[in-house]
Symmetry: C2
């Protein structure tokens, strides 16, 4: 049976971190909200209709009767099942800590364009967004990505776990892609200090599943509805 992924259609967003794992692994899945009637099905599940355990927000994954919300939680579940994580508990907890650090970073990326309120338009918080983005690029990008670069160094590389690829490596690929889209000028500079993260990105980009996916229509282009948005005024 195919996995069912529920996520807002029309943007990569947080759902993309799950898509990349499913696509890399060649797992069968349905991107429900992009199918006819899918949005209604997604909204019904969020309202808790017939769900004992309703998810707070997309993305969530359904496998049979099991519904799993939260990106890191979905990947924790999928990882060993699709060959993107070892089965050993200690390694899984370590990967989960890494993925949750990705989650924290993604929230800060989102807040570069929405520092005051998710309920307001970008245009209504533009000045604050510029301030936020300037601190973000100066302090937070080097802190988070520098951490991941150090982890790869400690592991012996080329991946976060060492010789074996795992799902947070796919997320690093997406972070680099997204930051290049949103902040092309800044990225040129900060990438120089992240040789190991960039190597992970380049290796992931060459994987069969990812290559085919990125060339397909299933990969929604980056746009200004997603997490990574290109507003030139924010790119130093």
């Amino acid at each position: 049976m195919a996995y069912e992924l529920y996520y807002w259609p029309g943007l990569q967003g947080r759902g993309e971190f799950v898509r990349l794992a499913l696509e890399d692994a060649g797992a069968k899945y349905i991107d429900v909200a992009r199918e006819k009637g899918g949005m209604n099905r997604m909204m019904a599940m969020m309202k808790g209709e017939g769900e004992k355990r309703p998810p707070f927000a997309p993305p969530f994954l359904r496998n049979g009767k099991l519904v799993i919300a939260q990106v890191a939680n979905i990947l924790f579940y999928l990882g060993p099942r699709v060959g993107l994580a070892p089965k050993d508990e200690n390694a899984r907890l370590w990967l989960n800590a890494l993925q949750l650090t990705v989650t924290d970073f993604v929230k800060e990326v989102h807040d570069t364009h929405h520092p005051i309120a998710t309920g307001l338009y970008y245009e209504d918080q533009k000045a604050e967004a510029r301030q936020y983005a300037s601190h973000f690029l100066k302090e937070r990008v080097p802190k988070y990505l520098g951490y991941f670069d150090g982890v790869i160094e400690q592991s012996g590389g080329p991946y976060l776990l060492g010789r074996r690829i795992s799902y947070p490596d796919l997320s690093l690929f997406q972070l680099v892609e997204g930051l290049r889209y949103a902040f092309p000028n800044a990225a040129k500079k900060f990438e120089k200090k992240l040789p190991r993260v960039i190597e992970v990105h380049d290796r992931v980009a060459e994987r069969d599943g990812i290559k085919a996916y990125c060339a397909s229509e299933r990969r929604i282009p980056f746009n200004e509805d997603g997490i990574f948005r290109h507003y030139p005024e924010m790119d130093a």
Copy 2:
């Protein structure tokens, strides 16, 4: 052997969600950074000295050689070991989704006083903080806590899982305590719409381990270094 908890001394912060689980369960643990020389030990671990898998940030928990970072990840590990989660995988994934929703909310609580940059003082982002807090109280508190209230309703109550308490219930207790400290006026109003969350809070407050802990010196009082800060100008 006792668990070792590593967290900044002098504030409850994110470490508190772990402390509450350890205390409720009566688990033996050392609050390392509050002991003599503990801060140095914590900083050394974060620098990766002797650590193959260095944590990004506190809190982290050590059990023998295993080091686990990220609150939700620590609680995922501890839950079934200290009797605060079932061992069944599906239930654990569900609790993890709930705890990660707590994590998301806690980040927004933090951002009420730091909307622009963690690296700046509150005083440098006071106007933006007021704006943020006003949206937070109006839109985000009802959204998150209303969700948890609905989950308790669906489960049949009185707890998130139904009749059995689990670690995210302890986190709900902390959210209510913290919001009452930070936003006493607003809390009086929004609590009226959250009868089930408040019942969880009240039940947790009466548990032996939690009662003893809150009366002890181990419970650091809320203060303006933590996640929940009382700035009267932000409390509508």
